[in-house]
Symmetry: C2
Subunit: 475 residues, 2 copies
């Protein structure tokens, strides 16, 4: 595959564009042309435009010559362009285990399924196979950007970076740091070792993508129970030197929280442990945050750290339900994560679906917030528009990329997917209607209803094409 | 399409057969031949058998001639035969609304989305379109038997029966009875009217399938809030005369339960209302049962009524979580229902997946049972093997068909699906590996892990062929 930095043609996309510019509202741009230059940047958004008008007026304005423009037109009214999905928390190295978790919960799941699989990826041929499939699968599901955890193995981690770069997925690549909790065969021998290994991955990525435009390293302490105090301190120093983003886990499971209290007896809370070690800042992505206390959430908000909400994982591992509305109302930026393979699904569309579902569980009779007033209960539910925001712009905020991706605006990059909801048969006999994907559109649905059908029954079959920085990376 | 009673050829199926004969355990029959006669009945199950051995030994034993046998072989080791799924609760008439429910809960959902859609199906052309797609979609998802609610309209209800019969889906067809709660435009004018209408559908089905072998009527009081006391009494009389099965809803939503208490002030409980009206018996299928009290569950168990567990619906409409383990331990038979369009998914595989997930929500920190001991909490979780039992044999028990369908045994009918989990590439370059469905099988998985991957990421793409009573009804 051509490296993704190869300059391409100018491009025009014509049709309906839908995106979530603010929480709770989708903007629909019908009959619109979006012009993307050879670097993958959106340079014009023209309403009331068709192909002819684009050629006649836009090209001149942009100084484009006719013979260097590729045109993509949404072919019928059930096709539309949507921003690429952003997976703010995913373990590429656990991909073969999706769906395989039995009745385990976090700590026994790590030992039984996760550490052995991650350790086995020190075999580069196995790592290549696993990472290739993970990237292809997530691209096919419309994920244009992923914040990956790899393993403790530097070579395999660097391979993940190479594969993302060549396959064209925007990615953060985390070499996992852990000097305790794991089995003997899968541990950093010292913080020194972890720092050196992390630096090795940073340097590798700098060689393939010098400005980290497509692929970036991310500093990755696994989570407090797996990191000594010295490890956290050293990684904090590294982060201050490099200004790289960071990712870790927080407050996913009751026993994990107890373990943190035991391991860090001076810590006032799980969040406080990260804070006192200097890693709770605006560059930190915290996965889960299911059981944060009021004080912890306030601290996270004050430090401007971000949260990756992983509903499939939290449901699968019996972790509980994160209170997303409560986090958002504190001003915390929240995105969605598949958290494979704690989460079973590679799809952020599925994560969005489950984000609405678990917000209902939070307030259902017997749920965490079931004693709240009707008004509060209604408020806690997340709408379709809101979870699609979390899946795109919310994720971009979490990854510090809200000025580049997540919505369609001039100056931003063309990370997008062409969605096709199928066809409403008219001139064919109804009985001949072939099944397209898992959706049935009857023709009378409003746009809101079409989107609802997509969120609840859509899958990768509805994702016809996927672009990152203007490059077609899946079709 | 040929009517499904047309005698066909004898058939042999060869490969791996997997089924859930008892709760919590899957039986794997590898290298096995299953012989099905022209009536669709399994007449032999032969282990350690291949095509040649079947021809040489089984045909003679069965008195089959070589030229009248069709052979279907699972083509590679990631294909297997599984019993057809059984949907014990589904509103065919609400199919166009799947995924469309916003933030509503049961009672406002009925008024906003459901009654208008159901009423509109008095247009037979619309009903034909909706029902055809519903049947095709559920067949494509492996549903060989469905307990359908239609509408109050007799002609449209009869059309649903005709379509199930011609498309070959085993079905129970319920003409909905409701003489209150609904809007003026969508109500039975009297119990007399409801009884006459129900009888009209019974007679219609008797004409197309005289012994109700494929399609059967089912007496369908919508639920207590929509039925006067006289309506329930009259339907009970009709059931005693006809011995037909019955279906209704129970204890789905808190406000619904309050409404029942107001409408039936003499009733000791929701279940007691059905019992005192004579319809809580072994022929009754109760959907939901989310909030039953201990006394109600004991009463349901004593009367041998059945329960349709609908996890997608209960999650979507914020109804809560049914305590399936608790019901099973009382000896109540439980199946799964999609409950479209309260539920968003047409797939019983999805219902099985969500049944495990909601059992986790029940016991997650903050869930209904979160204060129980660790042992009790572990017990409440439903395993993959258990939810696949509910999806097949459990459903057969609920519909009174456990002697005919749900497992592979001699004397039972061939209601089955051929599942394909994809291919493990060996002689093709890894990068050329085409994506089959939403699953990635790497080749090292145990059968348990393959099944787990199917349950958590499988979809209709993995359902290659579907048979009912020996007839191929989808491929």
């Amino acid at each position: 595959m051509a490296p993704s930095s190869t300059p391409g043609k100018n491009q025009v996309f014509i049709g309906t564009f839908i995106h979530a510019k603010c929480l709770g509202e989708l903007e629909y741009l019908h009959n619109t042309a979006v012009c993307v230059d050879a670097s993958g940047t959106i340079v014009a958004i023209e309403p009331n435009c068709n192909q002819q008008k684009a050629v006649e007026t836009l090209y001149a304005r942009l100084g484009w010559s006719l013979d260097n423009v590729a045109i993509t037109v949404a072919r019928h009214e059930l096709q539309f362009f949507f921003p690429g999905f952003i997976d703010t928390h995913v373990h590429a190295s656990q991909y073969p285990n999706v769906g395989v978790f039995g009745k385990s919960t976090l700590l026994d799941w790590l030992n039984k399924y996760t550490f052995p699989m991650e350790a086995s990826l020190s075999s580069l041929s196995k790592a290549r196979r696993v990472y290739t499939r993970c990237i292809r699968r997530t691209l096919a599901n419309g994920t244009t950007t992923a914040a990956y955890y790899a393993t403790i193995d530097v070579k395999a981690t660097n391979l993940l970076a190479d594969l993302c770069y060549s396959m064209g997925q925007r990615a953060f690549i985390g070499r996992v740091c852990m000097d305790r909790l794991g089995p003997e065969y899968y541990l950093d021998e010292s913080p020194d070792h972890a720092i050196a290994a992390t630096r090795a991955t940073v340097e590798h990525i700098r060689r393939i993508d010098s400005n980290f435009e497509l692929v970036s390293p991310i500093i990755t302490p696994r989570f407090a129970p797996a990191c000594s105090s010295e490890m956290l301190t050293r990684l904090s120093e590294l982060q201050k030197q490099t200004q790289l983003p960071m990712q870790t886990h927080i407050s996913e499971n009751d026993n994990e929280i107890k373990l943190v209290a035991e391991l860090f007896p001076d810590g006032k809370s799980y969040a406080d442990v990260y804070d006192t070690h200097g890693i709770l800042n605006e560059k930190m992505i915290l996965a889960h945050a299911v059981h944060l206390t009021e004080e912890e959430a306030d601290l996270v908000a004050e430090r401007k750290a971000k949260i990756a909400h992983c509903p499939c994982s939290n449901s699968a591992l019996t972790s509980g339900v994160a209170r997303v509305r409560w986090l958002l109302e504190k001003g915390i930026q929240v995105g969605l994560g598949t958290d494979m393979s704690g989460g079973y699904s590679p799809s952020i569309l599925d994560a969005a679906r489950q984000a609405t579902i678990v917000s209902n569980h939070l307030i259902a009779p017997g749920g965490q917030l079931s004693c709240a007033s009707q008004e509060e209960r209604d408020k806690a539910k997340l709408s379709i528009e809101e979870v699609l925001y979390l899946a795109t712009k919310g994720g971009a905020q979490v990854l510090g990329l809200a000025d580049k991706i997540g919505t369609f605006e001039v100056g931003m990059q063309w990370d997008a997917q062409l969605i096709d909801l199928g066809r409403v048969p008219d001139d064919v006999a109804e009985d001949d209607y072939a099944i397209h994907g898992n959706l049935d559109i009857f023709g009378w649905e409003t746009w809101d209803e079409r989107i609802a059908k997509w969120v609840f029954n859509g899958d990768d079959r509805n994702t016809k094409k996927v672009w990152v920085r203007g490059r077609l990376v899946h079709e």
